[in-house]
């Protein structure tokens, strides 16, 4: 059974840290963990690339199991209250389930056969989905609010503005910001390239993108100014904002690159590089209180950092040598920051307590 082994790192200094990471439970959902999300109430939903979605309760019991989408699930999202789970995949529709009863509440077409992203607004029961070139906004009952399909290329990611007033989508050629209010037009931020992921800073000041051409862009939302950061060894698929909005941690290679967006912003600054492994970073997440950054790697290694204090990991956990050395595909902190869920490429899900 895969799992994590608490092992001191080679450098003695970190192992004296007071960080205490304890395994709580683990499970297997059968295939690559494509989505992993905590509800506000402490349920953990995990979606596998080949379809099935499982909701685990606080005690790791399988509360619900849904078949997911015909040829696989690509994304899941809990609404703000944790009462509804939305999912999209290769199956033409978005499905919304009741988190308590497990009932399918509604199902609506999303535009094309391959749904890529589903995300609930952080402030209201409004759901955004991206499928092919189409962005669709639904209200909590599945009533269409807005549908936009003029993006010229497939939408690779979407993110809500922190105040829930707008959704930003990335596609080849830049990004487009769509207000929830359908009477307002969209704002295109153009760039000749392909962004793969985007993340809106918690204060709304920046939209960061991770790009196919091994760059990271910062778009200043107030001015539409575009800053390009290059030097990454590979395309950048991991972006994590610090809750203060001051730091953006990025993957795109073996090093974690942390940009400081304080003061005059990240332009012409040298980022902090955190080297915890020779394998590539596969997942990144800041703890909700900002006290820790956690990184997962392609070989299953997990590192905890406090980049403000040290360039060395506070703690590094190796995969159990007798277990399946599967890469980490997803990292998700519970809302209270007490638990960390770790999804693996082989379908293993582990929950650890972080004290």
């Amino acid at each position: 059974m895969p799992g994590l082994l608490n092992r001191p790192t080679r450098r003695g200094k970190e192992s004296r840290s007071k960080l205490n990471v304890t395994p709580i439970w683990h499970a297997d959902i059968g295939d690559y963990v494509q989505g992993l999300a905590w509800s506000a109430g402490g349920d953990l939903a995990a979606a596998s690339i080949s379809g099935p979605i499982v909701a685990f309760d606080h005690n790791s019991d399988r509360k619900h199991q849904w078949p997911g989408h015909g040829f696989g699930t690509t994304a899941i999202s809990w609404n703000r209250e944790g009462t509804r789970l939305a999912s999209v995949g290769q199956g033409q529709t978005v499905q919304v389930y009741d988190g308590a009863s497990g009932q399918l509440l509604w199902e609506e077409p999303v535009g094309t056969a391959w749904g890529e992203v589903a995300a609930w607004s952080p402030v209201a029961n409004v759901l955004a989905t991206a499928a092919g070139r189409t962005l669709t906004l639904f209200d909590g009952d599945g009533v269409l609010i807005r549908s936009e399909d003029g993006h010229g290329s497939t939408i690779s990611d979407l993110a809500w503005s922190p105040d829930g007033s707008a959704v930003a989508v990335t596609h080849y050629g830049g990004l487009t910001i769509w207000p929830v209010d359908p009477s307002e037009g969209g704002q295109a931020l153009s760039w000749k390239g392909s962004s793969l992921r985007l993340a809106w800073s918690p204060n709304g000041a920046y939209i960061a993108t991770g790009d196919q051409d091994s760059t990271v862009h910062f778009w200043e939302t107030a001015t539409s100014l575009d800053l390009q950061m290059w030097g990454y060894p590979t395309k950048v698929l991991q972006l994590a904002w610090h809750p203060s909005s001051r730091y953006l941690a990025t993957g795109g290679g073996p090093s974690i690159v942390v940009w400081d967006c304080g003061g005059k912003g990240p332009e012409n600054t040298t980022p902090v590089m955190l080297d915890g492994n020779e394998e590539h970073v596969s997942a990144l997440a800041y703890r909700p209180d900002g006290s820790l950054l956690v990184s997962g790697y392609d070989d299953g290694r997990l590192c905890f950092w406090n980049p403000g204090k040290s360039k060395r990991p506070l703690l590094a956990l190796e995969p159990k040598p007798d277990g399946d050395l599967a890469g980490i595909s997803q990292l998700s902190w519970s809302a209270d920051g007490q638990r960390l869920a770790i999804g693996h490429a082989n379908g293993a899900v582990a929950v650890v307590g972080v004290g």
């Binding site: 295939d31 690559y32 690339i49 080949s50 390239g193 196919q212 390009q228 060894p233």
Partner: protein, 458 residues
């Protein structure tokens, strides 16, 4: 930006999933071939990515529709242009536990194979998990003549190919087939051509062929490295003074140069000597001879073939004996025939030659073979400059090189501005030499030869 790309190339240890790219014009038989692959009992689990097609599962196989999305990069480098749709779909497929034994990508008839190929060189995630096995291009033997000159896409699909399936051969004559094959070979000398009707080919011939494997970088047909000649054909006859004539009909060109060479006998060595003389004679000026005129011995002449009906030229030889007649075009093109009185004269021996290319702008292959050792610094400088200037026009290149100070053969291959090379086995007893092939558009044979030769250790 010229980039060296490292890829695991050992066929035995490489367990990446092979990708076959299927190209060809609409109606060339791609769908027929795909359906055959999907329905044949081969025991493999195959995924097919098709442009503009719904999702269909055939038993355990999978057909996924995708719209072609070309991602150009901000830096303007064409070698960084990739297919976003493929990265997204393949990235999803490769995460799954149920792996595929092979993945086929069917491109639209007008797709540029460049970005498809580059996707597997440029994107490290793709390169890590997937191995581009080969570009298979289907050619409609009956209709290719209509596209090959006017369509740059058709030319590029042939230029990029590792395997060319010449399909619908049942609809054309042997003579036309040979003509198409010759034309294809002049464009892409390294591809293997397979004749087929109704897309019936052995799957072994199109799947898992390791077209991009460095180990096979120089599985080059040695014929390709033959020099080109200003004539396409030579026939050996026994001629008698005053009796024999060359009969021609109206053909595709207004004139044809010929050269009649006396031979001591019909041996190969004797013919070789005549080839040399003929090459020299063809390169100079020549008199034009109208129908009814004479073809002299040992002097090249241009036969005017503008008339209608049968044209006749007397073979003006002074002594009976063996002669070789060199013709600028293949005799078939003018239904040319050497006759004595009114019956055809026996052809004792004949030989076809690789013709020189007539159009500078078309896709060609340039092969270079050179003895000696290369100076690696000079080679790098030359290649870099070449690719910087001509990278977009160079579709494929392959080489086996003898680098000074290196005991092993250096094998390399490339696509546009991307190349990938490494030393492989030691030269051992084999004589050290250099072989290099470029397939591209507007290639300057002389400049490439000269440039490559300048990289030799002086």
């Amino acid at each position: 930006m010229a980039t060296a790309v490292a890829s695991p190339s050992d066929e035995r240890t490489d367990n990446r999933v092979p990708i076959t790219v299927l190209t060809g014009f609409l109606g060339s038989g791609k769908t027929t071939l795909l359906n055959r692959i999907l329905t044949e009992q081969h025991g493999m689990r195959i995924a097919v990515i098709e442009n503009e097609f719904g999702e269909v599962g055939v038993d355990q196989d999978l057909v996924i529709g995708a719209e072609e999305e070309i991602f150009e990069m901000n830096n303007g480098c064409i070698c960084c242009t990739v297919r976003g749709d493929l990265i997204r779909i393949l990235g999803n497929l490769m995460k799954r536990k149920d792996r595929f034994d092979a993945i086929l990508i069917e491109t639209t008839g007008v797709a540029d194979p460049g970005p498809v190929v580059q996707t597997f060189f440029v994107d490290d995630q793709m390169q890590e998990q997937l191995r581009l096995d080969a570009i298979v291009t289907l050619v409609d033997a009956k209709h290719i003549g209509q596209h090959i000159d006017s369509s740059s896409e058709a030319q590029e699909q042939i230029a990029f190919a590792d395997i060319i399936v010449l399909n619908k051969t049942d609809l054309v004559s042997e003579r036309d087939l040979v003509e198409v094959e010759t034309r294809i070979r002049s464009m892409n000398a390294t591809a293997k051509t397979i004749r087929a009707s109704n897309a019936m080919v052995d799957l072994d011939q199109v799947l898992n062929v390791h077209g991009f494997s460095l180990d096979r970088a120089l599985d080059i047909d040695p014929k390709f490295l033959e020099p080109e000649y200003p004539f396409e054909w030579a026939g050996v006859y026994t001629l008698t003074p005053g009796k024999d004539r060359l009969i021609c009909q109206h053909g595709p060109d207004p004139a044809m140069r010929v050269y009649l060479a006396p031979l001591r006998d019909a041996s190969d060595t004797d013919l070789e000597g005549a080839i040399h003389a003929a090459t020299l004679a063809f390169s100079g000026e020549a008199e034009t001879v109208a129908s009814g005129g004479k073809i002299p011995s040992s002097v090249a002449v241009d036969l005017a073939l503008t008339g209608s009906g049968t044209m006749s030229f007397a073979m003006n030889v002074s002594a009976p004996g063996t002669y070789a007649l060199f013709t600028e075009h293949h005799p078939n093109e003018f239904r040319a025939d050497v006759q004595t009185v009114d019956s055809s004269l026996e052809i004792i021996a004949s030989r076809e030659f690789k013709p020189e290319h007539e159009h500078d702008d078309e896709v060609t292959s340039v092969g270079i073979e050179l003895a000696g050792d290369l100076d690696v610094k000079k080679l790098n400088t030359w290649l870099q400059r070449l690719l910087m200037n001509q990278g977009p026009d160079i579709f494929r290149m392959k080489g086996v090189l003898s680098v000074k100070g290196e005991d092993r053969r250096f094998v390399f291959q490339g696509v546009h501005m991307l190349f990938d090379g490494q030393p492989d086995r030691p030269w051992g007893a084999e004589p050290r030499h250099n072989k290099m092939i470029f397939i591209g558009r507007n290639l300057d044979r002389a400049a490439l030869n000269e440039g490559f030769a300048s990289c030799l250790v002086s």
